[in-house]
């Protein structure tokens, strides 16, 4: 319990840092985003809106700490104001529409690549020096070392544009009513294949290597020798003795890998024109929609922290030493 509380406190600090970063960054830069917003709208913006932006971004006249409190309040109450890109739709609504797509894509891809990657890693360490151990991790590492943008472009070119196996973009065929029918979900699945495969390709190697290296380290421990001496079967030693302990560093690696998954998400959604948060943040950057951009950033940070917390919970389940 103490462990979880400590982690929770840590995440709260991290969120606080993210909010403060969001608050300070525009103030450290020359100019003021509200002016940029105003200029961008061609001066067609009603004065009240401008005032609302100033209040929302905390650019009210007043000392810095007052502006800071104002900003904190608007973040906590999710009162993030309207977007500029899709005026007057509120920022919170736009984010709400894109979040499920991203969580679906990143979540499924992460779970699949962790599962498959750990399995391959386990297999490679079991057959140490065998074919899989010697070539498969290297092959996947080579694949994964391509920047996700490049992988996505190649896949898009080959499978969507040339072979026409998959659609050219979007999360779902816009002609189909989102009524929850089977055709709708089939369309969603069809559109998700390429982005998901690309994401999995870029993540798989991490898990193969993490699992394999963790296994190799664990297999050198004395209790493995002891288990062998007791005459336990290889399979039992692998699953119940080695893998059980090798999985811990894998769970720790989740926090590293998540950042990577998010990065992949941004490129992949941009290339495949997928309606998720990653694409939204790029769109908001290119339209200089500062409120939306900052909200996207905050949302991504919160999601990553949440996933980290889930990994911590998992850690407690897997490691009895933390259950005090």
């Amino acid at each position: 319990m103490a462990f979880l509380l400590r982690r929770l406190a840590f995440y709260l600090v991290a969120i606080f840092v993210a909010i403060s970063f969001n608050f300070l960054l525009p103030r450290l830069m020359p100019g003021d985003p509200v002016d940029a917003i105003f200029a961008n709208a061609g001066g067609r913006m009603p004065l009240e809106t401008l005032e609302a932006y100033k209040a929302m971004l905390g650019f009210t006249d007043g000392p810095l700490w007052e502006q800071y409190l104002q900003y904190l309040k608007s973040v906590v109450t999710l009162d993030l104001g309207p977007t500029i890109m899709l005026f007057p739709v509120p920022v919170a609504d736009v984010l709400g529409n894109t979040l499920p797509w991203t969580v679906f894509l990143a979540g499924t891809a992460s779970i699949v690549s962790i599962g498959v990657g750990c399995f391959i890693g386990l297999y490679a360490s079991y057959h140490r020096g065998g074919f899989v151990d010697r070539f498969v991790p290297f092959f996947w590492q080579f694949v994964a070392s391509m920047p996700q943008a490049v992988t996505a472009l190649f896949m898009f070119f080959v499978f969507a544009l040339t072979l026409k196996w998959f659609p050219l973009g979007f999360g779902v065929n816009p002609d189909i009513e989102p009524d929850g029918s089977l055709t709708y979900y089939k369309s969603v699945a069809h559109h998700a294949v390429l982005p998901m495969v690309t994401l999995i390709l870029s993540m798989l190697a991490t898990w193969i290597f993490t699992m394999r290296n963790a296994m190799v380290n664990v297999l050198g421990e004395d209790y493995i020798t002891m288990a062998k001496a007791k005459g336990l079967s290889d399979r039992r030693i692998m699953t119940h003795y080695a893998a059980r302990n090798a999985i811990l560093p894998v769970v720790t690696a989740v926090s590293m890998a998540l950042g990577f998954a998010v990065a992949g998400q941004v490129f992949i959604e941009t290339v495949y024109n997928y309606p998720g948060v990653g694409q939204l943040i790029i769109k908001s950057v290119s339209t200089r929609d500062y409120p939306l951009m900052q909200a996207c950033f905050l949302l991504i940070v919160v999601c990553v922290l949440l996933a980290n917390f889930v990994a911590d919970l998992l850690y407690v389940v897997l490691d009895p030493r933390l259950r005090t």
Binding site: F10, Y11, A14, V17, A18, L25, P26, M29, A124, R128, G129, G130, D133, R134, P137, F138, Q141, F142, A144, S145, M146, P147, Q148, A149, V150, L153, F154, F156, F157, L161, F209, R212, N213, V216, N217, G220, D234, S255, M256, L258, G259, V262, A263, V266, F267, T270, I281, I282, V285, S286, R288, M293, Q294, C296, F297, I300, V301, V304, L305, N308
Partner: protein, 306 residues
């Protein structure tokens, strides 16, 4: 003389029985040399219009031309100089920061360690790319120099953790205690006693960060956050994307820079893996394990008989 001997001896030892390292080094060296020798390998100017737009590869233009009629071959060579310079400077900055933070907090411990690791851990949970995007967006379209700086200043936390744990592992070894008892200065212990033991980690980190920086720079520029007037691998992708090269069938516009980036990344990754195996020999794999496997099979066969 002895230094050169040790250096080359080390190199030979590193590459012997290490095909991944050899292939990786060859790829990286080939691309690096081609980029450095750009003025010899091509007569064109990367910024000059030499042909009509989107000409397919031919004898004159081995990789075709871009939408603006520039020579893709020349652009890849000159662009590589920028991309590789960014990657290696970012890697240098990151390695220096990670090494100093990791070793300081590992060696001194106590309050310094707590504060430094708290900062490192907070930095570590932040997803890096969105952070880079926000920074780049507020700075406006950033040049290669700024990209190198941002990448270098944001990618050190993981390395710092690795360096710290390795420092912790050696700081209680006897040779450190001996140095302390003899009254060596703290900076001397760090520089002369500890850092030489971290060399393989430092090398691994440098290569790993360069690999990351190549991808991150290409990505940021591809997304339009870089300065599009500078020719680099990332901006080539950006121009290909914004001129809809795929949809008009000008695949070479994408495929050439994409392949070069992928090869460079792959080469660096192979080097990185082999360095990992040097710093932790347990992780090794290879032909010599066959003997071990044969022995194990014999033992297993015996066991199942009895």
């Amino acid at each position: 003389m002895t230094f050169a001997k040790r250096f080359f001896g080390g190199l030979v030892k590193f590459y012997r029985g290490n095909p991944a390292g050899i292939i990786g080094t060859m790829i990286v060296a080939l691309i690096l040399c081609a980029c450095l020798a750009a003025p010899v390998l091509t007569d064109n100017d990367p910024n000059k219009r030499v042909a009509r737009g989107h000409q397919p590869p031919s004898a004159e233009l081995p990789f075709g031309s871009t939408r603006a009629g520039k020579d893709v071959y020349t652009q890849v060579l000159y662009g590589g100089r920028v991309s590789l310079l960014v990657a290696f400077s970012a890697a240098t900055i990151t390695t220096v920061i990670a090494l100093s933070i990791g070793v300081t907090s590992g060696y001194f411990g106590g309050r310094i360690d707590e504060v430094m690791m708290a900062i490192t851990n907070v930095m570590l949970v932040f997803p890096q790319l969105p952070l880079l995007i926000i920074l780049a967006a507020f700075l406006g379209q950033v040049g290669p120099f700024v990209i190198a700086l941002i990448l270098g200043l944001t990618s050190w936390p993981w390395g710092a953790r690795v360096m710290r744990s390795q420092t912790l592992a050696i700081r209680n070894k006897q040779f450190i205690t001996a140095a302390e008892v003899m009254g060596e200065a703290k900076w001397r212990i760090i520089v002369v006693e500890i850092i030489p033991n971290l060399v393989s980690l430092v090398a691994g980190m440098f290569v790993g960060t360069a690999l990351y920086a190549i991808g991150a720079q290409a990505g940021l520029e591809f997304l339009g956050l870089g300065d599009p007037t500078v020719v680099s691998w990332g901006t080539m992708l950006y121009w290909a994307q914004s001129s809809a090269a795929f949809f008009v069938g000008a695949w070479w516009d994408f495929v050439v820079p994409g392949t070069v980036i992928a090869l460079m990344g792959g080469g660096l990754a192979l080097i990185n893996i082999s360095i990992d195996q040097i710093s932790n020999p347990k992780l090794r794999t290879g032909r010599y394990l066959r003997i071990w496997r044969q022995l194990k099979a014999q033992v297993d066969a015996k066991r199942s008989q009895s």
